[in-house]
Amino acid sequence: MSIFHRSQHDRDLDAEVQSHLQMAAQDRLERGEPAHDARDAALREFGNVSLVKEATREIWGGSTTERLLQDLRFGARTLRKTPGFTLVAVLSLALGIGGNATVFSWVQAVLLHPLAGVSQSDRLVAIESVMPDGEYHTSSYPDYKDFRDQSHAFSGMVGVELVNTDLRLQNETHFQRDWGEIVTENFFDVLGVHAALGRMFGPADAHGLNSDPLVVLSYGFWQRRFAGDPTVIGKTIEMDRHSFTVIGIAPRGFTGAIVGIAAEYWVPMMMQPAALPGESMEERSPTFIHIIGRLKPDASLQQASSELHTISARLQSQYPANSKNVGVYVCPLWEAHYGLQAFLLPVLSFLMIVVALVLLIACANVANLLLARATVREREIAVRAALGASRSRLVRQLLSESLLLALLGGGLGILLAYSATNWLMFFLPPAHLPIGLPLGIDGRIVAFTVVLTVLTAFVFGLAPALQTSRPNMNRALQEGGRTASASAGRRRLRNLLVVSETVLAVMLLVGAGLLVRSFRAAEASSPGFNPSNVLLTAMDLRGNGYTGAQAAAFYDRLIQQLRTVPGVQAASLERWVPMWFTGRGYTRPTIEGYTFRREEDRAIDYNVVGQEYFSTMEIPLLRGRDFSQRDSRDSQLVCIVNESMAKRFWPGQDPIGHRLNSWDRWWTVVGVVKDIKYHSMNERPESFLYFPFSQDTSGTDANILVRTAGDPMQLLSAVRAQVHAIDAGATIIDSDDLSGLLSVSLFTYRVAATLSSILGLLGLLLASIGLYGVLSYSVSQRRQEIGIRMALGANRKDVLRLVVSAGLKLTLLGIAAGIFAALIFSTALRSLLFGVRSTDPATLVAVAVLLLCVGLIACYLPARRAMAVDPIVALRHE
C-alpha cells in the first residue's frame, strides 16, 4: 500500500517538474527564443532535475524500507557508472564472503549438525572411557548397560560399534565389504529416526543373543544394490556367513551416529557375536562400543558428567580387574575423540582464521577504493549537502551503496560456496572409509551469509561514508571539484589500510612459504624404507570364515606362490601399513632386566610382519637375523626391535637374546633393524616392535607386499590370480601402488601448502591493488603540483622519485610490520612444519623481496602517469 503511495507521489512530482519546465519554455518561446533553445534554457535554469526530485522526495520521507530501496536504486546507478571499480570490489567481496560461507557450511556439516536425519542432535553427548594412560577409548557393553540403567540425566543412551564386514546379497557369488554399525536396539528410538520403508528394530526385538538376525539398510545402499526395489523387505543378506533379514530402509541422508562415516546398514547389538565374532558382550575388556547419550530437556552436560563420574567410580571399585583407573569423559558430540570431526577440527579452525583474514583484506581493499573514489565524488556530495541533504542522509546513502556492493559480493559468494562445499573432501585423508557428511547450502548458511554480508558492508563502508559525508563544501564547490585533494585524515586512513593489507599479505605469504618448504622437505625425505615399485594388496579372510591360524596358513602359501611369479623380486606381508591412516597396534610389554620409570610411557607400537619383510621393504637389518621358516607356533616366540628400542632398553648391550613379555607370553629378540617413519614424516624416533606372522594368529587381515622392477600395477592381475587360485572366494579389499599411497600420507603438508599458497597470492594481489589504488589517486590529485614542479625544472626522474618514494614508504612499513607479525603468527604453524624453522630467514627474505617487487610495480604504473604530465596542460587548468 505504502509502496503504491510512494509511486503516486513520484508520478505527481514528475508531472510537477515537467509542467514547470513546459511553462518556463513557453515563456521563453513567447519572448521570441527559438523552440529548441527555449527548452534547453529552461532545463539549464531548472538545474539538476534528479537531484531536485530527490531533495523533494526527501521531504516526504517514507518508511525505512522505501528509503532503503530508493537509496539502493541510486547506489545501483552510481555503481553502473564505474564498472571497473564495481567489478574489483564485488569480486574481492565475493571471494571473502564466499570463503567464509564455504567454511561455515563445513563447520555446520562437521561440528554443528553432523548427524543428518537425527532429531535435536545438539542434545546428544559422547560418553568415552578414559584409559589409565589418559587415552580416550570405546567402552564395553556391560559398561554401557550400567551407564544407561544407573543414570538419570539422559532420556536415552545408545551404543554403537562401527564394523566393516563382507556382505553378499541373496543371489551374489562374491562378498563385498561395506561399513555399517552394530547398534543397541533402542538406537533408532533415541535418535528419533523413522523408517523410509518397512520398520526399524526396537527394544522389543531384543530376545537374546543371536536371536534376531535383522538388518536395516541405508537409503543409498538400497538404491545402489537393490535399485530401490520396495520388495526388498523380508529378503535376506549374508553377512560373515550369517543370514540377516532386511526389515527396513533408513530415511535418505541418515548415515548413522559416527560423524562423517557413512554406515550402509544397522544390525541389532544382540547379533554382535554373529556379525563380529571374537568380541564378548559380557566382558568389561576389551571395549568396542561408542556410547552416545541424549540429555533430558532439563539436564545439563555438567549434571550428566558428574553423574557418570559417580557411576564410573563405583564400577572401578566393583570390577577392579578390568575397570581399575578407567575413567569416563562426557562431551558434546563435536568434541568426541572419534569420528571425522576429531580430524577436521584443527583444519577447520585454521581455515576459519584464514578466510576471516581474506575477508578483512577484501574489506580493507574495498574501503580503500571507496575512499579513493570519494575524492572524485567530493563535488557531488557537496552539491547534495548544499541542497539540504543531512549528514545522516548522506551516510545512509553511501552506506546503501556499500550494502549494494556487499549484496552483489555476497550473492556471488553464496554461488561460490555452493560449488565449493564439496571441496572439503580435499582436506580428508583418502582412507578407505565412506565419507558421509551433510554438506550443502541450506537456510542456515544463507542466513549466516546474509548477516555476514550486511556486517561486511558496515565494516568496509562506514569509515569511508563518515569521511566522505563531511565534505569541505566551500572548497569543493568553489574549486569546481577539479583539484579537491584528499583531506589529511582521509589520506591517513587510506595509508593505514594499505599498510595493514601489506601486513596481512606478508603474514599469509610467510605462512605459505614455510608450508611449501615443509611439503618439499617432506616429499624429498625418505621414510626409511623404499616404497617404489611395491604393490600393496589389502586382504581380510574373516568374512570367508577363516580363523586366525587358517588365515596365517593361507597367507604363507600365497607369499610362497607369489615369489614364483615372473617379475616379482620379493614378497612379504604386514598387518599395518606404516605412514598410513588406518590402524596401528600397540602393546605394553614387560622388559626383562628393565624397570619402567613411574611416568614412563609403556606403550610400544608394533607391527606383525612376514618373512623377508625387511628385505622387501628395504629396511636394513643391523644385527641378528630376520624371521624365518623356523619360527613357528611351536618354537620359541621371537621378535625384532628397532634401533631406538634397542638403545632405550639395552644401551651399550647386544639386545639379541633379551626377552620381553607381551600378552602373557615371552618373546626373544632375534634381530635389530633400522628405524623408519611409522606414523608421520615429522615424528621423533620411537621404539617399535615387530612380531612374526607365523607366531601371531590373532587376526585374519594382512597387507600383501610385492616388489617388482617396473610398474607395480602391472602385477595386479597376477596377484589376484594367485589369491583366487588358493581360494576362489577370498576377499581382496584393495590393491594399490605403495608409493602412491605414501604420497597420499603427505597430504597434510600438501593441503596446507596448496591452500596457503593460494591464499598468500590472493592476499598479495589484493594488497597490490590497494597500493596501486592509493597511489594512482594521489597522482591524479597532485597533477597540478607535479606540473608546477616540472615547470620549475624538476625532471622526470624527480617525479618518479616523488611518487615511488611515497608508495615505497608504505610498502616498507607494511613489510617490516608484517615480518614482525609473521614471526609471532608462524609459531602457531609449528606443528605443520617439517624440516624448516618457523623463523626460516630464507622464507622471510623471499617474501620481503617479493612484496617489494610487487610494491614497486604498483608504484611504477601511477608514477609513469605522473611523469607523462605535461606541465603546460596541468597549469592551464589554474
Binding site: S19, Q22, G47, A55, T56, I59, G388
Partner: protein, 116 residues
Amino acid sequence: MKSQYQNRIELLQGTLDLLILQTLLWGPQHGYGISQVIRTQSGEVLQVDTGSLYPALHRLEKQKWIKSEWKLTEKNQEAKFYQLTAAGRKQLAEERSRWEQLSDAIGAVLKNPVIG
C-alpha cells in the same frame, strides 16, 4: 556572468518559506509561478533555486500550511497549484512578525555609528 552572481542574494533558511506563503496570499499559484513572482517582485535580486523551492513547497504542504490541486493555467497548461490554508495564514502572520522583529533589530545595529 560574474556580476549576475554578485547581485544574487542567497536566501536564509526559513526566509523562503515566508516568501512562498506571502506569494500565495494573492491567490493559488504553481511552483514556476511562485519563483517568477519572487524574482520579479524582488527586482530580479532573489533567485529561487528549484532545488530549494520544491522541497520547501512539499514541506509546507506536509505541515498543512498549504494545499495543492492540479488545475489548468490561463495558457491551458496542466499545473499543480498551491494555495494557503487557514493554518498557513496564521503561520504567515507569525513568520512575518518574527521577520519584522529580526529586520528591525538588525537595522538598529547597522544604524549605530561604529565606535573606534
